[in-house]
């Protein structure tokens, strides 16, 4: 029987896994499974990872964490979109060189207006033709009101958060409410029996930790899956070129400076800059390819972006290996988090993937050790599929660009740099818009809505000539556009700026119903 689980690593991945397992396996004091999390008191967590996707709301609720507590304790803010700036054309080519990838599902029911927009865009950006959320973002408005219950709003939303504080909140929840044991020590060695299973891990100050299952959440160190099991890393740098990040924490000039209600991702000559507004500060970072630029020019690019405020600030360099492991679960060891693999944080996939993996593990975990091999096959298959699809989706942001102002962009747009699966999908969409049938798995990380916003935000051309005659309700679609703009005018009077609502929530809290 599986009675004890040891998680190695206390970053966001480790604590998300601990919470998922503890909730699924019965919670504090009552469960037949003991969960222990081992965390090094000396090795810091990666400390970045501030953007999330809406699934985070379900996750928090599932863990029994109040949205009010989360917002207050993690300096969290509302995120409704990623605004991609300068991705489509060379900088300066037009004032309108941006698009929103919003979280609201495009309004394709009862009438799918996508083909109508393709036939007659009416000077509307795609996101504005199928949703009002881009406008909500540009107006700096929050996605909800003080009278909305926790986790509910007018529009779909996720969060920006302080990664360190978030780990702390997850840790408190896991330890105090869900009965997870927290051991602070360094892992020094791993003991494997003749079957290849880990028996225990050795630590420098807490003795040996035995377990039936070990979860490797040790970050880029990948202490178990890499250092012990030497599972191959499938490099993806032929598709995705960035390999370094420079991160900076930028204070607000004035305590009441507006907080953007979306992530701003600005494309640069050799990568892109993330700009995330928390309630306490901004997190800004340049993710770039060391093949195409050097650290000094990269730092200059970042400092120029931040402007005067940057002069006194330090930045931190993080090296990244883009790719994923050949397997994620071997014997009785599962890797979750940065130890699994990494893609650049362009669509905030980090937490999303690790959250989904932890949930899958919690759900599939067999009762007996002898059933692990079967389960691990399934887990590996599903996880590999997810990673491949994520690589496709991220690459698409580069591949569809029309930028030609640097080698980085020129190389990124070459078909030889794109995964075959992406090219095949795009080939279909050259002659018809994407359909739900293109996304058949219930567990896709990115779905029809995400593809629509990015494809048509990036001015992807779908040739409608063969099918145009099927779309006979053009007037109705116009009516939908008008309705959005009316609805927005109404919402504008009800919603308040992000910072204002967050201040109110700090003071009064949100209600649960």
């Amino acid at each position: 029987m599986i009675k004890s689980i040891v998680i190695v690593g206390g970053g966001t991945a480790g604590w998300i896994t601990a919470n998922h397992l503890a909730v699924a396996l019965g919670g504090a004091g009552k469960s037949s499974v003991q969960i222990t999390l081992l965390e090094s008191p000396d090795i810091p967590t990666v400390g970045v990872g501030e953007g999330t996707v809406p699934a985070m709301r379900n996750t928090l609720a599932h863990f029994g964490i109040r949205e009010t507590d989360f917002l207050r304790e993690c300096d969290a803010t509302f995120k409704q979109s990623i605004k991609f700036v300068d991705w489509v054309h060379n900088p300066g080519a037009s004032v309108n060189n941006f698009y929103h990838h919003v979280f609201d599902y495009p309004a394709i029911y009862p009438l799918n207006t996508v083909p109508y927009w393709l036939l007659e865009p009416n000077n509307l950006k795609f996101a504005d033709a199928v949703s009002l959320q881009g406008k909500v973002c540009d107006a700096g408005l929050a996605p909800k009101m003080i009278t909305h219950p926790e986790f509910q709003g007018v529009t779909e939303y996720a969060y920006h958060l302080d990664a360190g504080k978030f780990s702390q909140l997850l840790a408190n929840n896991a330890v105090n409410k869900l009965g997870v044991k927290h051991v602070k020590a360094n892992l020094t060695d791993v003991d494997i029996d003749e079957s290849g299973d880990i028996q225990f891990v050795k630590t420098d100050r807490a003795g040996d930790l035995k377990g039936d299952l070990f979860v490797d959440c040790s970050g880029f160190n990948a202490l178990l899956i890499d250092k012990k099991y030497k599972v191959k890393f499938i490099d993806q740098s032929q598709h995705l070129f960035v390999d370094t990040a420079l991160a900076m924490q930028v204070p607000y000039q004035n305590p009441d400076d507006p907080i953007a209600s979306h992530t701003i991702a600005t494309a640069k000559q050799s990568g892109w800059i993330w700009d995330i507004g928390l309630s306490s500060r901004r997190g800004v970072g340049y993710v770039y390819s060391s093949q195409y630029t050097d650290d000094t020019s990269a730092e200059e690019t970042l400092r120029n972006y931040v402007g005067g405020a940057a002069s006194e600030l330090q930045c931190r360099k993080i090296s990244m290996k883009i790719g994923y492991r050949e397997k994620f679960w071997v014997n009785n060891c599962v890797s979750i988090g940065l130890s699994q693999g990494f893609v650049e944080p362009l669509e905030a996939t980090g937490l999303l993937l690790f959250d989904a993996a932890a949930k899958m593990l919690a759900e599939l975990l067999p009762g007996h050790k002898q059933d692990m091999a079967k389960t691990s096959r399934l887990f590996n298959q599903r996880s590999t599929y997810t990673w491949k699809r994520v690589i496709d989706f991220i690459k698409m942001h580069y591949y569809l660009s029309q930028r030609d102002d640097s080698e980085f962009w020129i190389d990124n747009r070459k078909a030889s740099s794109a995964p075959q699966s992406l090219l095949e999908a795009l080939d279909l969409w050259h002659n018809r818009p994407p359909s739900e049938y293109d996304f058949f798995s219930r567990f896709e990380a990115f779905n029809l809505d995400n593809y629509l916003y990015v494809l048509y935000g990036m001015e992807f051309q779908t040739n409608m000539s063969g099918i145009a005659g099927r779309y006979t309700q053009a007037e109705k679609s116009q009516e939908f556009y008008r309705r959005f703009s009316q609805q927005f005018d109404e919402l504008k009077t009800q919603l308040e700026p992000n910072r204002k609502l967050l201040g109110r929530i700090k003071k009064y809290g949100l209600q649960t119903c």
Binding site: M145, T147, H148, R504, K507, Y508, G509, Q511, C513
Partner: protein
Amino acid sequence: MQENIVQLDKVEHSDIKLKNSLDLKRAGSGNMSPVIVHEIPQLSTQFPLIFIKNSNTGEFNWVALFGLESKQNLFVENEKWTGKEIPAIMTHVPLGMTTLPEDNDKLLVVIDTLSHLVSKDEGEALFNENGDETEFLKKRIQAMLTYQHHAKVTKELIQLIVELDLLESKEFSFEIGGDKKNLGGMYLISEEKLNKLPDEKILLLQKKGVLGAIYHHFSSLHNFKSLLNRLSERQGAA
């Protein structure tokens, strides 16, 4: 309607008089009024007593409902109150008591000097020649002080109801003159959730004196029907 709400001041307002009556232009302009737990038994015989969220803070208030649309008050006719009961806070107007935003413990007496009850020649004086409060004003202030105390207790009881997760959002759908309408943004105590509470929590509600109020809340909901009657009478008359 014009308002001029200022802090009551013995110099500035030395010669003001106040008619001892209701100012329903002010107090009766909305379709609801907050209530305190102490008046819930009486009020429950006449009005639906429901919970709504304060639009500034999101916090729950316990209120008596006078109408089925915003600004509709079915208990005011020709500027007269037609109900048998009235929430106490409405009788304070045009006086009022409030706290300073920077200091929640400091209570201030305010007055709306544009109320038709305020004048120089009719009604009860507020201050005597020496600038001291008259008996009339003293009584009014005492009533408001007691009310503040009761409001605080009420707030704590609502907090308990919220913590026990007893509220649920409800809509009231009704038909009037062939039109289907909806009153939203309303919260009621869920009987189901109440019944599922463990004994010790029920005991707690009882000890704090809120269990009785909860039962009055349930019985007050019958008054939706009398609101509807008043509404159709009014529409019939129109």
